[in-house]
């Protein structure tokens, strides 16, 4: 009886809360925001939206999770075709070319801000981030938010067990293999793995070694780019991975972010992953922050003495068009963007998650605190990103249908790791298939090419 009464009053309370929030929600302009971040990052992002909602009375940003990045992208495009696109969608960096070609479906951020009469200076954003999301004429198209780069994380406890200096990460690929061999000898059965295999082992790899991933400045210079990942250096690198996997010093952890879990569970000793993985590792890795090392990606020192800057990954926010969307709604989107560009929001996101501080003001704000002294390694991504002036090969990439190309490269890499083909065959085949995809994109977007 008591429990039933409790239930009833709880239900009544819930109904009250629901009707109250429904009433206040009705007065506000609703902004739909689809994101693709899993926990804990997704929760942190939703918290930012909640903070924005609490900071003013007119707009209500509804942040909802729509599956991982690729799924969110597909869902947003399908929604657009059905005349039902959300106001804002978070899109990973490789979707950039596809979105840019879709004039009419999107509203460039710079135009949005101008339309809303809001002061907005793209130069507040650091150059490598701004460049990635700008048209060749310099107009910023999407709102930068969570930019990451790929770095090395290692498990200090595992290093200690293998008799390695826990503070000293491998600098080169030769050292990586040597360390991995020692880790294996110490009974650790996953010395090295990699998340986002295409991004870390091909895209980032090409940038830091200053070799092209594709012609036309990796596609930034035009849609008629050709892949170049069958170069001797790329083939050699695939061979290294194949050899290491055979000797048990490298473990393929699956496509996309699948390998993250292997590091977080304490199974693997080293991982090449997104700097944004830091938040999860701090929560889940046995031993926590004291056990987590962060360092630069390794390189082949006989190929390059001073490796170049790495490039960004992560995602940005795109404003989408749909029939009947009002000025007031766009105004709300602009207000939200101004909010997330505030130095304190940028700084908090960076320190909470491990993503890059994307504005100069936000970066300086963090530097004024003693955060970097207290969290050794948290500045590694920014330092690796900014260590050299960018070259043609380390500015970023813009290839149409890049998500599909990433899958192709993963497939061919998997076939090489299975021993079905040699490293050279894998890369030749990846180039051949990837170029077909690029030509299809060029063809399907002929209109956009002439317009743009």
């Amino acid at each position: 009886m008591i429990s039933r009464r409790h239930l009833l009053s709880a239900a009544a309370g819930l109904a009250l809360v629901a009707s109250a929030s429904a009433a206040s929600a009705q007065q506000r302009v609703q902004i739909d925001f689809w994101h693709g971040l899993t926990q804990p990052l997704g929760g942190m992002l939703e918290q930012i939206a909640a903070d924005f909602n609490a900071s003013q009375q007119r707009y209500q940003v509804n942040a909802t999770f729509r599956g991982a990045y690729p799924e969110t992208m597909v869902a947003a495009i399908a929604a657009y075709r059905a005349g039902n696109a959300p106001h804002i969608v978070q899109m990973f960096e490789v979707g950039t070319a596809t979105m840019m070609a879709a004039r009419g479906a999107i509203v460039p951020v710079q135009d949005l801000m101008a339309e809303a009469g809001m002061a907005f200076n793209p130069n507040d954003y650091i150059a490598s981030v701004r460049g990635y999301y700008s048209l060749p004429n310099g107009v910023l198209v999407s709102m930068p938010f969570n930019s990451s780069t790929s770095i090395l994380f290692w498990n200090k406890e595992h290093f200690r067990r293998a008799g390695l200096n826990p503070e000293q990460p491998p600098r080169t690929w030769a050292e990586t293999r040597e360390f991995a061999t020692k880790l294996k000898a110490a009974g650790l059965n996953c010395p090295l793995t990699t998340a986002w295999p295409t991004w870390t082992q091909f895209e980032q790899f090409s940038a830091i070694h200053d070799v092209p991933l594709a012609t036309k400045s990796n596609g930034l210079g035009g849609m008629d780019a050709q892949l170049r990942i069958n170069s001797p250096l790329h083939v050699r690198h695939v061979q290294t991975l194949v050899d290491m996997q055979k000797e048990g010093t490298f473990r393929y952890g699956g496509r996309d972010g699948a390998a993250d879990a292997l590091m977080a569970s304490g199974e693997c000793s080293m991982i090449h992953a997104s700097s944004g993985l830091r938040a999860r590792l701090l929560r889940e890795l046995p031993g926590g922050v004291a056990n987590l090392g962060a360092g630069f990606l390794p390189f082949y020192d006989d190929h390059i003495r001073e490796p170049k800057n790495s490039i960004i990954g992560g995602a940005s926010f795109w404003v989408m068009q749909k029939p009947g969307r009002t000025r007031e709604e766009f105004r709300g989107v602009a207000e939200f963007f101004r909010y997330i560009g505030r130095p304190e929001v940028v700084a908090k996101w960076h320190t909470d998650t491990g993503f890059l501080p994307i504005t100069q003001a936000g970066f300086e704000m963090v530097q004024r605190t003693n955060f970097y002294q207290q969290n050794p390694g948290a500045d590694v991504p920014a330092r690796q990103m900014l260590r050299t002036p960018t070259t043609e090969n380390s500015m970023g990439l813009r290839l149409g249908n890049m998500p599909e190309i990433r899958v192709v490269i993963q497939e061919e890499l998997e076939r090489a790791l299975q021993g079905q083909q040699t490293a050279k065959q894998a890369m030749d085949r990846a180039v051949e298939r990837g170029n077909t995809i690029l030509r299809n994109f060029e063809r399907a977007n002929r209109g956009a090419a002439t317009r743009g």
Partner: protein
Amino acid sequence: MHKRVIFNDKLLPYLLLAPQIAVTVVFFFLPAGQAVLYSLYIQDAFGHDWQFVWFENFEVVLTDRDYLDTVWRTILFSGAVTFVSMGSALILAVMADKHIRGATVYKTLIVWPYAVAPAVAAVLWYFIFHPSIGFASKGLVALGVNWDWKLDGGQAMAIVVLAASWKQVSYNFLFFLAGLQSIPKSVLEAASIDGAGSTRRFWTIVFPLLSPTTFFLLVVNVVYAFFDTFGTIHALTQGGPGKATETLIYKVYSDGVQNLDLGSSSAQSVILMLIVVALTAIQFRYVERKVHY
């Protein structure tokens, strides 16, 4: 006279049929027509640029090495699923048909898996055989098997075949059991009196008399393996590693939904549609006539 009384309203039969026709039009004819239309165009992901290209999408698909590989893989996959699920169902049915204690319980248990949704079944198999946490994997590793179907295409295929067949065993079991029960006992008794052993009775009497059921199930299972195994594959391997478990239906999904190449994906759908038409025609034409008794 009677007919006129019952159907005096010419509209009524059409009205009664209308819901069914509406459902068929909305869920079959419209999408199918759209697929045929899309297959003749190249378009961008957002649907802004449309170019009419006649049959170029078909030409590209049918000359693509990956597509032809997928065709062979699908045939292999369907053959394996059909063989495993029908074979084990037949064995189970023959055993369940004997007079054993608790036969009803036994039959119910075998029919059970059919109630499990394909994706759920796949997730169960996923956990049982997960390379790092599955208990079956631990057993295999202990036996010295290098078990990692995230990377080994053959193993991945084996898992997908197993999961897809397991689902279908129940269905086949029911039909085989019904088929077995309709075989006249007198024929079997006569054979026994003539001195035929149980193996011989099975191959010379039971199996031929079951052939209508077997043929029907063959068609149903091939169709199942071709078209209804998407959920299983998606939940288990997403077509990987490499393309080791990508079947035709999965390729339609990955090209259309993931890669946003609607022209090619639609062309592949149309090809699949033709395959279904062919399979159905075979079934109607031969299922009753050609199977001998």
